[in-house]
């Protein structure tokens, strides 16, 4: 694996390998050695063309725990408005010694363009490209689900995952649909028709417009963030109506199976797609997702930068 651009590029075995590597890294760093020397001397560049404090910090923490040097570059807006092209920015950063570039961009396909246009030699990790994919988010979500359903170690068949909200614009939903399908889970997308993409009938999912009809059958429910720019664009009449029909409030919390988990990629709009009671309930695993995000990103950096064996406790490699 040279790059991580899309979950589509991974087979289930490589997905499981990443998850197992993350678990092994968790086991090691849970001991006295919080930081591994594995990537010492390697440089990871965080190239963020779009605001995303939590993803950037998560990648930064992951790289630092592996002792890599981290350079962060934030440039809001498109390359065009900034006046410098994506190509020039990436080549400049590579000239500064980047071994791996983590890219977040508002344009779908930006990570693939960067990796496959022959502009640079560095490895590329997609940290979210437009409305396309967010592969490390799907991996950390799978890691989190697996931790709660140990009977489904490498095989999610029999698990029912609901993804609720703005599927149309969501890279998190796209990556999750692909990954969960590869691991065998049943996926239901729950959204008003305006927030579902054309052609969703050809996705390997079920579709529902009623959270109430589905909620009691789910093992995991992923609530997606409603972006503020959707609220005034006639995808739904009002926040209140959206929240009433698709929010995870008290009644729907009560309807969830007791062993079901509540997930959210963050940042949350409390009171809109998720109520405070749901976000803070014992069934919520939202903070675990954040912690697992660092582990999964460590695993990805480790595997991409040529890690061949996982260091064992007390052994420097």
């Amino acid at each position: 694996m040279k790059n991580l651009l899309s979950i589509q590029d991974l087979d289930s075995a490589s997905i499981v390998e990443i998850l197992n590597t993350a678990r092994e890294l968790a086991r090691i760093t849970d001991g006295p050695m919080k930081k591994l020397p594995t990537l010492r001397g390697r440089t990871v560049v965080n190239l963020f063309f779009e605001d995303s404090t939590r993803t950037r910090l998560s990648f930064e923490a992951a790289a630092k725990r592996l002792s890599a040097d981290v350079i962060s570059f934030s440039a809001k807006g498109s390359s065009v408005s900034k006046g410098e092209s994506l190509k020039d920015t990436a080549q400049t950063l590579e000239a500064m010694g980047a071994d791996l570039i983590v890219i977040r961009h508002s344009a779908s396909g930006a990570a693939k363009r960067l990796a496959e246009s022959g502009w640079i030699q560095s490895a590329v990790v997609n940290a979210g490209d437009g409305m396309h994919e967010h592969p490390t988010q799907a991996l950390l979500d799978a890691y989190t689900i697996r931790a709660h359903f140990p009977d489904h170690e490498n095989d999610f068949s029999g698990l029912h995952v609901g993804i609720v909200g703005d599927i149309l614009h969501s890279r998190v939903a796209r990556s999750n649909v692909i990954l969960l399908n590869k691991l065998g889970a049943t996926v239901t997308l729950i959204a008003p028709p305006t927030l579902l993409p054309i052609g969703v009938s050809q996705w390997p999912v079920q579709v529902s417009h009623s959270l109430d009809e589905v909620i009691g059958t789910l093992d995991a429910v992923m609530m997606l963030r409603i972006q503020s720019e959707r609220m005034n664009d006639s995808f739904f009449p009002s926040e209140r109506e959206y929240s009433r029909d698709f929010g995870l409030g008290a009644q729907r919390l009560a309807a969830l199976k007791k062993e079901a988990i509540i997930m959210h990629p963050g940042p949350m709009n409390r009171g809109l797609e998720i109520s405070a009671a749901s976000a803070d309930s014992p069934q919520s695993v939202i903070l675990e997702q954040v912690a697992n995000g660092i582990l999964v990103r460590m695993a990805v950096l480790y595997l991409l930068l040529g890690g061949t064996r996982i260091p064992t406790e007390g052994v420097l490699v």
Binding site: K87, A107, S108, K112, E116, H132, G199
Partner: protein, 439 residues
């Protein structure tokens, strides 16, 4: 003395003839003709009237880094074209007599093919104030086609008025059918592929709703309507219906929409980013059927050069458009003749005769004694590999780079001047002749 004698040319009816050209005109078509200043033996290759493009972006004035009138004319000639129509979305916009006359003058100076400027419908292509179309029609450029191409004349009242207004000088409105409200920030055809790629979709209904509306308006006011670059199966159906009702509508299709589909966007390579977008396979098949059965009248290239930096970037930031002049013939042969959907006579009609008739380019689109010697010699049996580095265009944004395609243009004659020889620009240019200039 005969200026040029073309020996052994194959006509569409398979007769082998000699064609004698004098003073830029076809003087005689016969056999065993002799005596000429220049003899060109074309070894039984096919002779067709020079192609006529009603939809070309030459980028001059204003964006000469991507194309000039000269480089675009050379690309056209190498594609077998003897006439092209320069779209109005230049900088400044061709919305005044001054700008269209400048473009026409640059075309005459190039002398490689006829360059007929298209005038804007509205000032600055903004859709707000009607441009002085009558002045452009009466100018030396004698504009007959008007279009806001790139932008749709989306206001129905403006469209109605424009369709009515151009009747007084037999103008025609060429509509770029794209409802703007349905295509805000759209990047590619809306469908399974756009949903997968996360690129904002461009629904077929954005094109079809305007086509349907404009057909009704044209019928209501009794005007001629030309629909640019049809791309959807639904649009073909609408035009078919309009023609069955006797409504005066004509339609064009581009070569790229006859061959390429939206799955090419999966590479995120912006060379496949074009307006209107590449559609699905079923749309492509409907366009081919429509072109074969006469629903679609003509092929037009929508040749749209862009500099490298406008394509070598992320998809959303890239410019819309692709080159077309040098590959048009081969792509039409590949999609329409190799598939046995139409014959060479139909190709000659859709690439030359009919576009010349629609636009009123009277010196083009026919191969007859007394007519201007605007013709091209085709080798239907040869194949070639498209190499963007060998293009005459100043730009390299061809989606066909590396593809092997059938049919080559061997010679092009413009007003009798041998402008392309063995596929290469000769450097000869037409110096002007008042008897020959198209009026």
């Amino acid at each position: 003395m005969t200026q040029v004698l073309i020996k052994n040319a194959r006509m569409l009816d398979d007769h082998i003839v000699d064609i004698a050209i004098t003073d830029g005109r076809i003087y005689e078509i016969g056999s065993d003709l002799t005596g000429a200043y220049e003899v060109v033996d074309v070894a039984k290759k096919l002779v067709l009237p020079g192609f006529v493009d009603l939809h070309t972006h030459l980028r001059a004035p204003g964006k000469e880094n991507s194309e000039t009138v000269l480089s675009g004319s050379q690309a056209a000639a190498r594609g077998g074209y003897t006439a092209l129509s320069a779209m109005a979305n230049t900088s400044p916009v061709a919305d005044t007599a001054g700008v269209v006359e400048q473009v026409a003058r640059l075309g005459r100076e190039a002398g490689i093919c006829d360059v007929f400027p298209i005038g804007a419908v509205t000032v600055g292509l903004k859709g707000e104030v009607m441009a002085e179309m009558s002045a452009m029609a009466q100018s030396a450029a004698k504009v007959r086609i008007f279009s806001d191409d790139g932008n749709c004349v989306s206001d129905p009242l403006m469209m109605r008025r424009a369709l009515e207004y151009v009747k007084s000088f037999d103008g025609i409105i060429a509509q770029h059918a794209q409802e703007p409200a349905l295509t805000r920030d759209s990047q590619m055809n809306e469908g399974v592929v756009s949903s997968k790629l996360g690129l904002k979709g461009w629904p077929s209904i954005a094109e079809e709703s305007i086509i349907a509306r404009d057909i009704l308006i044209a019928h209501y006011v009794g005007s001629r309507l030309h629909i640019c670059h049809l791309t959807t199966a639904g649009g073909v159906e609408l035009v078919r219906w309009a023609k069955s009702q006797g409504i005066k509508v004509t339609a064009e299709v581009t070569p790229h929409h006859l061959l390429l589909t939206d799955t090419l966007a999966e590479s995120y390579d912006a060379v496949y980013k074009v307006n209107p977008p590449l559609r699905t396979q079923s749309d492509v098949l409907a366009l081919r059927t429509g072109l074969a059965d006469g629903t679609i009248d003509i092929v037009a290239t929508d040749h749209a050069p862009h500099p490298i930096e406008d394509k070598e970037c992320e998809w959303n930031a890239a410019a819309f458009g692709m080159l077309g002049l040098e590959t048009a013939l081969s792509v039409v042969v590949e999609s329409m003749i190799s598939t046995k959907l139409m014959d060479w006579a139909r190709l000659s009609s859709v690439m030359s005769t009919t576009p010349a008739q629609i636009a009123g380019y009277t010196e083009h689109g026919r191969l007859a004694v007394g007519g201007a010697a605007n013709l091209t010699i085709i080798d239907p049996d040869s194949r070639w590999s498209v190499d963007r580095s060998k293009s005459s265009s100043r730009s390299v944004n061809t989606p066909f780079h590396g593809m092997e395609l059938p049919a080559t243009v061997v010679h092009t004659f413009f007003n009798g001047v041998h402008v392309v020889n063995n596929g290469q620009i000769t450097g000869n240019r037409y110096e002007g002749n008042s008897k020959v200039r198209s009026e």
